[in-house]
């Protein structure tokens, strides 16, 4: 079973699991160019002597909440590589409900062995527990921490199962704290010790394209590993420095250990003025390598189209990939069910080859027979949308359940819940209720089929762009790289873009850009797009609601960036138009947006809308005048003219009526 797979029998907050794939990916992600050991570093002042891997680092941004009467929760904490660990301890910050009765407890298992049982009775809500870890616990790549909890509030167990008065919440800052001996000797070790906020230094002034590209790829890699990247210019030293060898030498930086920078070697640990850093230098290859099995596939998935070994084309079905559910983290161990049991996995489309999307889930299930009046029902949810309810066969044999996933409910990151439930007719509420075995077998899989759909919203972009993307940047950004590198790095990580150096293009501002494939365009270029949702040549942009009230005045907020889904004759792409990049926009919410236009600033996405569905908001160009505006401006003149014409008409009709009133005009 993969680390990170959740051994869950609770209604634990599944949302947090969404990012787990990203997390364990980040822990093992690739570093740079080579992995050779570094000999004898005298100084590595910059590194920290200790490191804490928290639940937040694992993706549990709000910690882990348990509300069920009994539950299992498992966490996999990565063990730093290439570093001598002097000590480690598990530190749990948790809140427990004061309603819990005297039998409430949780038990900590370390690598599947019970290590401590903690009673939860008592009026106090906030607790901190420190559990020292032993050297033997750290021999594996991950420390498996399993917490089994029992949260009764009364002795009546039948009642317990249906109420949620008790809770146990492990806060996000809970985690494993490591302390180290000495300095890192390898780049991998230095990478492990990078703080959450990483500064990347680049040369001041106008960058060469290859330096810019290397910085962009580095930024994306760091962001993809959960780091917050801050680009700075030399001489400010960051944890990572990207610069030509000559520049490094001019600064007085020296390699540490045996890997002296030389011909063909373009990464090293270096020190300068007593501070160590990872140097990335020429030749700027701009690509990463792997360093350990079995994570090769996942680490490089987006870039090299290599997938987990378990992900394979279905036999006889050349267009269909399958990934074992256990590889996705599903608990395939035998479980015991009393009334209901739940499994959860997080599935990202990034886990499939570009251009594929999960289509069908094939479950191999064995459940304990029950009488016909109390069948076992299996409920399958995709992103909390019920996909199918299956009545399991009542023969105790292994059976195949195929569940088709609704395409419309699929997102880039998806959460799948399986819930088995059976009705208990009678039971002993005073004793331990009877439980029934049920198991999902390892040959259960998720099938993916080719996705030929074209993007209709921002949320569709990732899948579309993962097939390969061209980046178009104004050449001007080479002179002010800080204004855009952060933005693009984050975007590359968020969209899991397969960035390639040769597909990053620079153009002169206002030149015509004609993409030859899926693309991202930043800045102002001559538009070759078909009916872009937002036109920049129409002047002042205003977003109004259905009642005509102004929601946003785009040009009056200089920090705003407009992102829109555009298309050429053949390809779709993202066009980002920053008014100014002094404050980088945060586009995180853009990637899951159902709209095709977003307005964002440094605080995040301000507004998202779909140009084809202007029900709530739509774009108008305040400076552009249409006939309606002209009429509106001169409406009083129009009124006067209209009223004059009306009066003339009425007078004409009146005179006509008077003339006809007498028959004389007809009879002579």
């Amino acid at each position: 079973m993969l680390p990170g797979a959740c051994d869950v029998e609770t209604n634990v907050n599944n949302k947090e699991r969404l990012s787990m794939g990203k997390v364990w990916g980040s822990v093992v992600t690739a570093v740079f160019l080579f992995t050779g050991a570094l000999a004898g570093p005298e100084a590595w002042a910059v590194v920290q002597p200790s490191k804490v891997v928290t639940l937040e680092d694992l993706g549990y941004e709000k910690g882990s909440l348990i509300e069920a009467a009994s539950a299992n929760q498992t966490f996999f904490f990565p063990v730093p590589l290439d570093l001598k660990i002097s000590s480690a301890q598990l530190q749990l910050h948790y809140n427990a409900s004061p309603e819990l009765n005297k039998h409430a407890y949780y038990r900590i298992y370390v690598n599947d062995m019970p290590r401590r049982t903690v009673s939860l009775s008592g009026p106090r809500e906030q607790h901190v527990l420190n559990l020292p870890l032993q050297a033997g616990d750290l021999k594996q790549r991950f420390i498996k921490i399993r917490i089994k909890s029992s949260l009764p509030v009364t002795d009546n167990r039948c009642l317990d199962d249906r109420i949620t008065a008790g809770y146990l919440h492990f806060r996000a800052n809970s985690g494993v704290q490591y302390r180290f001996h000495g300095s890192p000797k390898t780049i991998r070790a230095a990478w492990e010790l990078l703080p959450r906020k990483v500064r990347v230094s680049i040369p001041a002034g106008k960058l060469d394209e290859e330096v810019f590209n290397a910085a962009l790829l580095m930024g994306q890699a760091l962001e993809a590993n959960g780091k917050k990247v801050l680009f700075t210019t030399l001489p400010v030293l960051g944890e990572i420095v990207i610069a030509p060898k000559l520049a490094l030498a001019a600064m007085g930086a020296k390699s540490v250990g045996n890997n002296q920078l030389g011909k063909g070697i373009n990464a090293a640990l270096m020190v300068m003025k007593g501070r160590g850093f990872i140097a990335v230098t020429d030749p700027f290859v701009g690509s990463n390598v792997f360093f350990e099995q079995p994570w090769i596939g996942l680490a490089s998935a987006g870039r090299y189209q290599v997938y987990p070994v378990s992900s394979k084309l279905e036999e006889g079905k050349s267009d269909r990939y399958a990934i074992s559910l256990s590889d996705l983290g599903l608990d395939i161990k035998n479980s015991e069910m009393y009334r209901r049991i739940e499994w959860g996995i997080a599935v990202s489309s990034d886990q499939f080859p570009a251009g594929y999307f999960p289509d069908t889930m094939l479950l191999q299930v064995v459940s304990t027979p029950s009488d016909s009046e109390t069948p076992v029902m299996l409920y399958v949810y995709l992103n909390d949308v019920l996909q199918e309810v299956v009545r399991l066969d009542n023969n105790g044999k292994k059976q195949t359940v195929a569940v088709r996933l609704n395409r419309a409910d699929l997102k880039r990151h998806n959460r799948i819940r399986l819930l088995a439930q059976r009705k208990v007719i009678e039971g002993n509420c005073e004793g331990d209720p009877e439980r029934f075995p049920i198991q999902i077998h390892p040959d259960s899989s998720l099938q993916a089929v080719p996705d030929e759909t074209l993007p209709a919203s921002m949320a569709d972009l990732s899948n579309y762009l993962r097939k390969g993307v061209d980046i178009y940047l104004p050449r001007d950004y080479l002179s002010r790289p800080l204004s855009v590198l952060g933005l693009l790095s984050r975007m590359g990580a968020n969209l899991a873009l397969p960035l390639e150096v040769k597909k990053i293009h620079y153009f002169t501002e206002d030149a015509e850009v004609a993409p030859v494939g899926p693309f991202i365009l930043v800045g102002n270029a001559k538009s070759v797009f078909k009916n872009p949702p937002v036109r920049f040549d129409q002047g002042h942009i205003r977003v109004i609601d259905k009642r005509g009230q102004v929601l946003l005045e785009a040009s009056e907020l200089p920090g705003i960036t407009v992102g829109q889904l555009v298309q050429t004759d053949r390809y779709y792409g993202l066009w980002l138009m920053p008014w100014s990049l002094t404050a980088l926009p945060r586009l995180d919410a853009m990637y899951s947006s159902d709209g095709d236009v977003v307005f964002a600033d440094s605080t995040g996405v301000l507004l998202t809308l779909h140009s084809d569905k202007p029900g709530l908001a739509r774009i108008v160009y305040a400076d552009a005048q249409n006939w309606f505006d002209v009429i509106g401006r001169y409406r009083f003149w129009f009124f006067a003219l209209g009223w004059l014409l009306l009066t003339v008409l009425i007078v004409h009709l009146y005179r006509q009526a008077r003339r006809h009133k007498t028959l004389g005009s007809w009879l002579g």
């Binding site: 009916n531 259905k546 005509g548 084809d612 202007p614 029900g615 739509r618 249409n626 309606f628 009429i631 509106g632 409406r635 009083f636 129009f638 009124f639 209209g642 009223w643 009306l646 009066t647 008409l649 009425i650 004409h652 009709l653 009146y654 006509q656 009526a657 006809h660 009133k661 028959l663 007809w666 009879l667």
Partner: protein, 696 residues
Amino acid sequence: MSPTTGQNNHSTRMGEVLIKHKLIKESQLEQALELQKRTGARIGDILLAKGWVDPLDFYPLLASQAGHETIVAPAGEHEARFGEVLEAYGLLSAEQLQEALELQEKWGTRLGDIILAKGWVRTLDFYRAMASHSGHRFINLTVDPPDAALIDREDLQLYGEYLILPWRREGKDVWVVTADLTPPTEEFIRERFGDGVKIAITSKFDIIWELQRNANPYYSQTAVSALAVKSSEYSALQVFTRRQLGVIYCFFSALLLFLTLEPVIALITINTFIAIFLLVNFGLRAMLAWVGGDRHIDVKVTDHQVSVLKEQELPTYTVLVPMYKEPEVLPILADALRRLDYPLSKLDIKLILEEDDAETIQAAKELELEGIFELILVPDSLPKTKPKACNYALNFARGEFITIYDAEDIPEPDQLKKVVAAFQMAPRNTVCIQARLNYYNARENWLTRMFTLEYSLWFDFYLPALEALNIPIPLGGTSNHFKMHILREVNAWDPFNVTEDADLGVRITQLGYRVGIVNSTTFEEANSNVLNWIRQRSRWIKGYMQTYLVHMRHPLHLHRSVGAIGFWGFQFFIGGTIISTLAAPFLYLMYIIWLMTKTHIFDIVFPPSLLYISLFNLLVGNGYLIYITTLGAFKRNYYSMIPYGLTVPVYWLLISIAAYKGLWQLIHKPFFWEKTQHGISRYTPLARRRALRRNA
């Protein structure tokens, strides 16, 4: 009595007498004698057959030669004897007399009327013979016109009804001519002119023509002014009343102001009004189609009910056929009228021609139509409209019932009988029966197909449903049948309304009478030319506007007189037709622009709820209208036309074009009669040839 003795001497003597009276030439006599030797035929027959002598000159001379002042009928049945006289004169064959007698027994009408209706005897001959037979003086009014001073204007209508005319004063004697020598007529003459009055015989056409010649100003004035003088509130002479103009002025001024101050809200308000109006309009039409689709609504007069009608009891039926510059369809019309399953002698057919329409007048004369066809020449005056012409002809109408056919109409033969039966079955206050209209050239082109589909829906669904729901029925232009006395009582047609029929239908309902629909169809010529069609349709819609304006002068009165259903039915059926045709182009345009450009400029006037209603109207409403358009084709078994129903939106667009033309004319030329040119169908020449062949 034989016209000749068969003896040569006698023949020679008779011939000499004829030469002496300069009735024949010597050479003609010689030829006749020569023929007599060869054939043995009588000299009189030969001369008459050759056309060398006029029978009415010949017979009196023959009688005087035989020693008779007049030919005296044998004792017994007077009519039969008159028939014998005609036979004796050689004007009527024995077979014709026999047939006439049989028809007399069947139809219960006078022998003379039958003979004239059949056209067996020329009218002038007939009346001369009648004068001769009855011992009255015959006066040819074209030679000896009447003294206009004796004509009393107050009695003009009675003159027309009784077919009399004061002729001249000779000494103390006043001579009155008549073409209808019956006891009631004689009684009326003596009542009007005293016992000493002298009666003479003349042709009925002479009386009509002289009446027209002498009283044209009166008839014209009556035709134009009757309604306007007696019931001005129903006359369209005044297109807009002062009050209506005031309301319109205030309303549109307020609307303009509203648009200026709050353009968005104003546009939404207008849009809402139109959307809801159209929605209700669709609802009404759905209901009409529902009600009209009831199978029982079609069973009105059965064939059995027609068959049990006694022809002797059938009333005289006046048929008005207003025509203008339509000489080519005249034979078709005459043929269709001749084929009416109705006693010919009880038909009083008026071909109403405009005095300046020499072409059609000449064509009518050349056709030598039977006595049932009377030519009414309408003097040239304004307004030159069909209702004015009909009003004019009404002065000479003598039927108990009256109907109108257009020149190109081909009514189903039993239509008049069905109407008589329908009147008998209907409530007493039913004074008008509308027959259904359809087209005989339906498959000529796309336009005729659409026209046919529209008419099928209109007359087969809508009008029967309107009748069932007691909503005022806008009568169709032809084939509406009236009780004569009620028609005169309501002052007949409004000469200033260009859809006088629709107006009359509503007016009749307002006056407490009912209009019914009969299951008999008149086939017309569908307009096959777009421009001609637009002319016709613009007139119809203009007339609808006139009708709406006239009857909405006093909305409360209208509501009281026709009830709530009738009132709202009128608003949406007449008013709805006008508004929807005027609004449709804008709505289509908006939709097409939106569809093609995806523009959002209209969003502002389409808040969601209104958008849903508008989309409902556009898709469901129009879709339903398309559907019920095809229903008409189903009902008439025009299956091949069903696919054409899908193109009806294009047809609606044409209607809208015509509507704007009609609106323009309402303002500038409210009484202008856009003449529809008939006889342009490619079927017309064929139908004309067939009609002429049948007549020959």
